[in-house]
C-alpha cells in the first residue's frame, strides 16, 4: 500500500505510511477478499468429518446405569473444555509475542483477540454442557464444583478482556492494553485454581475426574472422548483461521482508509 494517487494531485510529497496504523502489518501482500484458503478449507473439512464421527460415536454409546443417556456427553464436554483451554493458551502466547519487541506484529494482536472470542464461546459451552451433565448426578443445574467455578471465573475474565478490546483506541494502544490484560488473566487462572479447589476441598462432589477414568468406563467412552478432543481442536483451529483473516481484512480496509484520510486532510488546506 503505497501512494497510488496518480488521479489526484494530493499526497505527492510525503509517502503514505505503509501499515502505520497496524505496526508491522503485512499489508503489502496482495489483498484477498475472502477468508478461505487451502488451510482453512482442509481444516474445515477435517473439523466437519471429526465432528460427524464424534456425533456418530457419541450417539452409539451405551447409557450407563448411573447417568442414563447423559453419559454420552463425554463425547462433547471434555472436548469443548479442552478447546477453551487451548484458546486461552493461544491468547496468552500471542499476547506475549506481541509484547516482545522482536516479535511484535499486528498479526499476534489479531490472533489473541480472535482466539479469546472463540475461547469465550467454548468456555460458555463448557459451562452449559457441564451443567447439563451434572444435572442427573447432582440433582441441580449448578453446584459449586471447583472446575465449574473456575470455568465461570475464566468466562468473566475473558468477557472483560473482549470488552476492553472493544473500547475505541488507536490500534497500538489497544493491542498493548489487551496483551497486558490477557497475560494478567493467565496469571490469575492458577491463583483462581488454587483458591477454588482449596475452597471446595471438603465439598468437591463428582467432578469430571471421578466420572471419566477407566474403572467403569469402557473403551468406547474413552474413544469418544478422545475423538471429541480432536474434533473440538479442529473446530477451534478452523474458526481461528477464519477469524484472524477477517480481522486482517478489517485492518487492511482501515489502512486503505488512512491513505484517503491523509489526502482528505491535506485538501482542507486548499482555500475553500
Amino acid at each position: 500500500m503505497t501512494t497510488e494517487t496518480s488521479t489526484t494531485d494530493m499526497a505527492t510529497t510525503a509517502p503514505v505510511p505503509a501499515g502505520t496504523a497496524t505496526a508491522g502489518a503485512d499489508v503489502s501482500e496482495p489483498v484477498e477478499r475472502s477468508t478461505s484458503g487451502p488451510l482453512a478449507l482442509s481444516l474445515g473439512l477435517a473439523a466437519v468429518l471429526a465432528l460427524g464421527a464424534t456425533v456418530a460415536l457419541g450417539l452409539t454409546l451405551p447409557a450407563t446405569v448411573e447417568q442414563g443417556a447423559y453419559s454420552r456427553l463425554i463425547a462433547i464436554h471434555p472436548g469443548v473444555a479442552w478447546a477453551s483451554y487451548i484458546a486461552v493458551a493461544v491468547t496468552a502466547l500471542a499476547s506475549a509475542l506481541w509484547l516482545w519487541p522482536r516479535t511484535r506484529s499486528a498479526r499476534w494482536d489479531r490472533t489473541a483477540g480472535a482466539s479469546a472470542e472463540i475461547g469465550v464461546v467454548f468456555t460458555a459451552l463448557t459451562l452449559a454442557t457441564g451443567s447439563i451433565w451434572g444435572r442427573p448426578t447432582w440433582g441441580v443445574w449448578w453446584v459449586w464444583d471447583a472446575r465449574l467455578t473456575l470455568s465461570a471465573l475464566m468466562l468473566a475474565l475473558y468477557l472483560g478482556y473482549l470488552a476492553l478490546r472493544r473500547v475505541p483506541a488507536s490500534p497500538d494502544a489497544r493491542a498493548r492494553r489487551s496483551a497486558v490484560t490477557a497475560l494478567l488473566a493467565v496469571a490469575v487462572v492458577p491463583l483462581n485454581h488454587f483458591a477454588v479447589t482449596w475452597w471446595r476441598t471438603l465439598h468437591q462432589g463428582r467432578s469430571l475426574a471421578q466420572l471419566d477414568p477407566g474403572n467403569d468406563v469402557d473403551g468406547a467412552f474413552i474413544a469418544a472422548m478422545l475423538l471429541g478432543l480432536l474434533a473440538m481442536t479442529l473446530v477451534y483451529a478452523w474458526l481461528l483461521v477464519h477469524r484472524v483473516r477477517v480481522a486482517r481484512l478489517e485492518d487492511e480496509a482501515e489502512d486503505a482508509m488512512l491513505a484517503l484520510a491523509i489526502a482528505e486532510r491535506r485538501r482542507e488546506a486548499a482555500p475553500a
Binding site: 471465573l153 468473566a156 472483560g160 470488552a163 494502544a173 497486558v180 497475560l183 494478567l184 482449596w198 476441598t201
Partner: protein, 224 residues
C-alpha cells in the same frame, strides 16, 4: 522510583484529606453495605456472625472499587495525563504511589468495617496477628490489582462499568483466601486448609500484581 512513589502517594492522600471523598462517601457506603447485608440475611439466626468474614471482605471489595475509581478520577482532569507523562516521574513510581495511597485508605476502611462487624454482627474479635497479616496481604493485592486494572480501563468511555468487569473476577482468589484466613483467625468455620496456605496465596497474588504493575504501568500510561 521510591522517591516518586512517596511523592505521588503523598499527593493522592493529601487530595483525599482535602476533598474528603473517602471519609464522606466511601466510608459511609462501606458501612451501609454492612447494614444491607443484615437486611438481606436474617440477623436473628446467627447467619451474620457466621458469614461475617465473607461479608466483611465483600464490603472491602466494593469499597476498593470506589477507591480505585476515585484514584483514577483524580488523574482525569484536563491535561493531567499529559502532565504526568511529561513530569519525569518514573511510571513504576506512579503505580506504587497510587497503589500505596489506596492501601492506606483501605486500611482505614478495614478498621472501620472491622469495628462495624464487631458491633453490628456480634463477632468476637480474636487472632489479631493472623487477622492483621491477612489484611496486609489482601489489601496489597487488592490495591495493586485495582490500580493496574484502573489504568487499563482508563481513558475509555464506559470505564465505570469496565473496571468492575475486569477487576472482580481477577480478585476472586483474594476474596476467597482472605475470607477463609479471617475465619480461621476468628475461629469460625471449618479449617479445611491450613491458614498459612491462604496467606501464602494472598502473598503470591500481591507479588504477582505488584510486579506486573511495576513493569506494565509505563507502557499503559502511553495510551492515547
Amino acid at each position: 522510583m521510591w522517591r516518586d512513589a512517596l511523592l505521588v502517594a503523598g499527593k493522592d492522600l493529601r487530595i483525599e484529606a482535602r476533598s474528603r471523598v473517602a471519609t464522606n462517601q466511601v466510608a459511609p457506603f462501606a458501612v451501609l453495605v454492612l447494614v444491607l447485608f443484615a437486611f438481606a440475611l436474617d440477623p436473628d439466626r446467627g447467619l451474620l456472625t457466621r458469614a461475617a468474614a465473607g461479608l466483611f471482605w465483600v464490603a472491602v471489595l466494593f469499597s476498593a472499587l470506589l477507591a480505585v475509581q476515585r484514584a483514577q478520577t483524580v488523574e482525569s482532569g484536563e491535561g493531567t495525563g499529559d502532565a504526568l507523562r511529561l513530569s519525569g516521574l518514573d511510571p513504576a513510581g506512579i503505580f506504587l504511589g497510587k497503589a500505596g495511597a489506596v492501601v492506606v485508605q483501605l486500611f482505614a476502611l478495614e478498621l472501620l468495617l472491622g469495628a462495624g462487624v464487631v458491633v453490628l454482627y456480634g463477632v468476637d474479635p480474636a487472632g489479631y496477628a493472623a487477622l492483621g497479616a491477612t489484611a496486609v496481604a489482601a489489601t496489597l493485592g487488592l490495591a495493586a490489582a485495582g490500580t493496574l486494572y484502573g489504568a487499563l480501563a482508563t481513558g475509555s468511555r464506559g470505564r465505570e462499568t469496565l473496571l468492575p468487569l475486569l477487576l472482580l473476577p481477577a480478585v476472586a482468589p483474594v476474596l476467597i483466601a482472605a475470607t477463609r484466613a479471617s475465619e480461621a483467625a476468628l475461629g469460625i468455620g471449618g479449617l479445611d486448609v491450613a491458614p498459612g496456605d491462604w496467606l501464602a496465596l494472598l502473598g503470591v497474588f500481591a507479588v504477582v500484581y505488584v510486579a506486573f504493575g511495576v513493569v506494565a504501568f509505563g507502557p499503559l500510561m502511553e495510551e492515547e
